[in-house]
Symmetry: D2
Subunit: 357 residues, 4 copies
């Protein structure tokens, strides 16, 4: 079988991770990489990995007839135009989350994908985590019965830099979007209503950019289950990533991964090392697995495990959370269209206040 040729758009941290994971897959070849800031360093990095083409222009990759699939790892604002171009060029697409900050734009991108008949996988890597997959299995195989409560804890070890905070889209769209997808993945049900509370408890810089650093969101699912997600931008003890699903026949709860199992008992206490410190360590294998799954779907013409609909649903929930937090009341997903319309009108009527959002 001919290897699948892959082009990478955006060679930042996550783009480079995908390249190294793809290099471990025998059925793929990373043929080209583009980055706005491509220079000698990236060229050297690419050469070490046997990547033939390095370019500043993503169009070079989209236009290359040899390339079968494209990984979009550039900044969020470029996702939608790149998806549309890649789809029109007949490439399969792996796109990092979120597809965009705007439901309307995301839906445009999805429409382009549908019309081109290509595959689009969204980078919700946590679905491929060994712990969360096992919890989902317990839900799906009936071990814990009907789902009643879904609980997700997701706390970062360190807040991002201010430069990132500015453009992140806020905690709900940037960070909790992973958890919104996880809530759908674990429960096997759609979210109908969201109530979001947030506060600035870690650093005032979040307030300066209209964001919060600590948030709790409750969810109502279509199947009647309730859910809750808590996020913090700073857990000093490391990356805290736990989920629990409680149902009519029991519960399945995933605790954190640790670098080792050693328990140290001294005159003071019984200790163990902190959880794995960052997402690259914790989700290392999950990144490999999501890449394998994407390649496997291309090879065998199967539906991707995380598709455009999954991408847009997570964005809908994130938007509802953002609005709930702003309005101080629960928001139903089916109110979104109306609320967005109102919000646009308000923005049009009071353009000077739009910056405060």
């Amino acid at each position: 079988m001919k290897a699948i040729k892959i082009g990478i758009i955006g060679a930042g941290r996550i783009g480079k991770i995908h390249v190294d994971n793809l290099l471990r897959l025998p059925q793929t070849e990373v043929a080209a990489v583009s980055d706005l800031f491509a220079g000698p360093e990236l060229a050297a990095w690419a050469a070490e990995r046997g990547i033939g083409t390095v370019t500043k222009n993503s169009q070079d990759i989209i236009d290359d007839p040899e390339i079968d699939a494209i990984f979009i790892c550039s900044s969020t604002d470029t996702h939608v135009p790149l998806i549309k171009q890649a789809a029109q060029a007949g490439k399969h697409i792996f796109c990092e989350k979120p597809v965009s900050m705007s439901l309307a734009l995301t839906e445009e991108a999805l429409e382009a994908v549908r019309q081109a008949g290509v595959m689009l996988q969204v980078g919700f890597n946590r679905r491929f985590d060994h712990n969360f997959k096992r919890v989902r299995e317990c839900v799906q195989n009936g071990t814990i019965g009907e789902t009643h409560i879904v609980k997700i804890t997701s706390r970062d070890p360190n807040p991002p830099h201010e430069d990132y905070i500015k453009v992140s889209g806020g905690i709900f769209m940037d960070m909790m979007i992973h958890d919104f997808d996880m809530a759908r993945y674990l429960s096997g049900s759609e979210v109908e209503e969201v109530y979001a509370q947030g506060n600035v408890l870690i650093h005032p810089v979040f307030a300066q950019h209209g964001d919060v650093d600590t948030a709790i969101v409750t969810l109502k699912f279509k199947n009647g289950a309730l859910g809750v997600i808590d996020n913090s931008r700073q857990a000093v003890y490391g990356y805290d990533q736990r989920v629990e699903v409680f149902g009519s026949k029991g519960s399945a709860a995933a605790s954190n991964d640790h670098p080792n199992t050693v328990e140290i008992s001294t005159a003071d206490s019984v200790m163990r090392d902190k959880p794995l410190h960052f997402f690259l360590e914790r989700y290392n294998e999950a990144y490999v697995e999501e890449t394998k799954a994407f390649v496997d779907c291309i090879l065998h013409d199967k539906p991707v495990p995380v598709d455009g609909y999954d991408g847009v649903q997570a964005e809908r929930i994130a938007l509802a959370a953002k609005l709930s937090s702003r309005l101080g009341r629960p928001v139903k997903l089916n109110e979104l269209q109306e609320l967005v319309r109102q919000s646009a009108e308000t923005a049009a009527a009071e353009p000077e206040s739009s910056a405060s959002a």
Copy 2:
């Protein structure tokens, strides 16, 4: 030192527990017990324990000049009149939770206690639990820094009988009231706003009585922290009682107590026995400790560790949760007076619908 003489009003399950715990304290004597249904069985039970007086009439206990303190363990609707009588008779009072289903009545009781200058301890036994005390210590001694998030899980092993459901006051006032007190106890801060979601997922009998069996409540605290409590009336794996406080310097999380530490590894899995099955086993020592604390306060004329204010605050939060669930929106504690007034007016105007609450 002369032993403190104690009278017990209400010799149901919890009343009997208090008697047996008091018998283990050298400084106390259980002098009398009253119960509406007192009969030969109760007489025999009391005789075995050397309790001199058994009566159907609580007034006999309140009027007994020898008695120093009274434990009110009768049904909730009797609490307020009994507190008032006991206070007027100059007795110290231990009262089971909730003091009443009505804020106005509870405040009347507290006023009577204040005027009589007696002590009133409310039966929030979980404050004396070895796990939760340790979590609170971590908050108070600064180990985990400023509190950002409080999470409480409280799930019963089995739903109560329908007879009880009818008169329980609903999940927020009957069951989650313990967790509302725990939220205040752990955070060291007051709750300002509540948002409650509930559903009937276990048994339709709850719906028939205007109640829910599964609920998630989020909290905003005065100090800026956020909180969440989840309750279920049926966790098939046993009594699930966990708390977690997350702060600027770390987190403290209490998991369940189990009957033993044995891990059994077989060809199928690694297993351990389920958590302690019911509140009598889990909170056995906590009941002893709360009794000791009350006696100790009487002996040394110290303020009780859980006072009437704690009782009424938990009721306020429970009422706010009940209203939030009914109104489908967050409710601030300082809205309560107005909402209760409106509710009363509505009830007056539409008397036929009042049964549905």
Copy 3:
């Protein structure tokens, strides 16, 4: 039913524990207590507990026709004569471990018990521990199949005082004897051979008295299983009491009990509190349970759960371990008689060296 009247001989720490536990049993009455050093303090202590008789003379208790059962909690050297006297007086006997330091004497005591037809229970309290009972259940109900390996860890939080070390009988007879009984209890098989290694790693005082403070003993059981016990006189992190049985269908492993389940995560590590610090805390309930079991056997004329044979077998294994450690080779239990004879001859021939043992 008439209460069982009990006399206590020896009112040291363990004697007092038994009294307090007996007071919680409705079917028993502690009628008398004797102690060589009985004085006003003991009298006051006894008065608080409603114990009628306090005496310096154990004979007063043995001669009292009202007394049904005697707890022998005095020093080890007094056990055998007291057992003989109590048996002849027709009393049921609870005796602390070890029965004696000499197999011949222990067997004399057992013979007296047999002839009198009274009950004798030996104080191997750990058989009543919630964790170890659960492990034994897994062996007995076939959950883990045929036993292949038994592992026991038993480490004290602090070494005893020198005064105690002198008369303790050495680590194997004083401390590991509990583990020898546990090995028999868990495996359901008899020990056939023992190999003991010991060293002085904690404090030279042990060497001065011909003792060791750290020891590992391996065991061969009649059913083919192998075993290992490790002891230390000082685990700075607290009382370390764990067992594991490994078999053809799996394993059952008991870890330590802790004062709470709280996990504290900080920037440094994930911590929990040390295990329960001493035998009084860890085996508190086990002491209650062994007392209940003894009383229950008397009431219902059932065989006691830990009898004289259990007592003498543990002593045999301890003696074999002591000899193995001295001889530097494995010792079979059926060699004991011969080795004891040789040892006696050697001692007779070289009397000046006998102090070194």
Copy 4:
């Protein structure tokens, strides 16, 4: 820097693992692989990995002047001649454990390595395990003080095939040799004396080949510490690999690795998945790490972390254990020479019985 060219002798399971791990290291190139049974399948496997040379003759690799280092992954009986040839050819050597079944032969191999001035690393991969490294750190950085007791549990999920049992060298040389190395690695001290007990409890095939399937070995270390290792050829719940070091200031204990952290609570019990099932899963990263370490030592001319002396010491302990088990008594390592001489004489005198060893 020019890549290190590596030749692999023996392309069985472990040889192939090393190849795949070496391919992930940028500084190495796998240039050639030899295997007695090399055929089209191996050729295809090598071609996929870009390995230029595939041969049946190990001499082709040893004679290749381009090759810098050789991995000896062939059967144990070929190790010593191959090490000698490779050393004479000036190649650095990575050799799987054990170097040989004969101390005399192993020492010959080491002498050849010394004379040639090449590096020899022995495949004790477990030293690179994340858990065991952490325990060793606790010993080395003084966290747990002076070492008093070392405990190692090592149990395989399934017994090997009879074909393997025949030539394995027995449980002590084949399986427990890893634990003997671990004992030296963890304690930082040498073993002086060994006492081994074994039994056939799993399958009679072990007895047929003069082997045991269950064994406990106690150790005395030069620094006074005591140790114990238990092995079983069949733990039905998976690969059981735990260590514990107990010292004057505390203990460090490594428990098993599991495929996930999920705890499933049902009406029956609280369960989690069994430990990682086999050495390839458990020690996956350890194999990568030992390879990295070897390559790093070659690149920077540093002493290897597991050298020939480590290889021969583990063999000495294994031989002592084998003799102890046969003789039924403790064996000191400094008795070995004499015991081997005696054993050789006995074998010479009674040649017909030599097969039974």
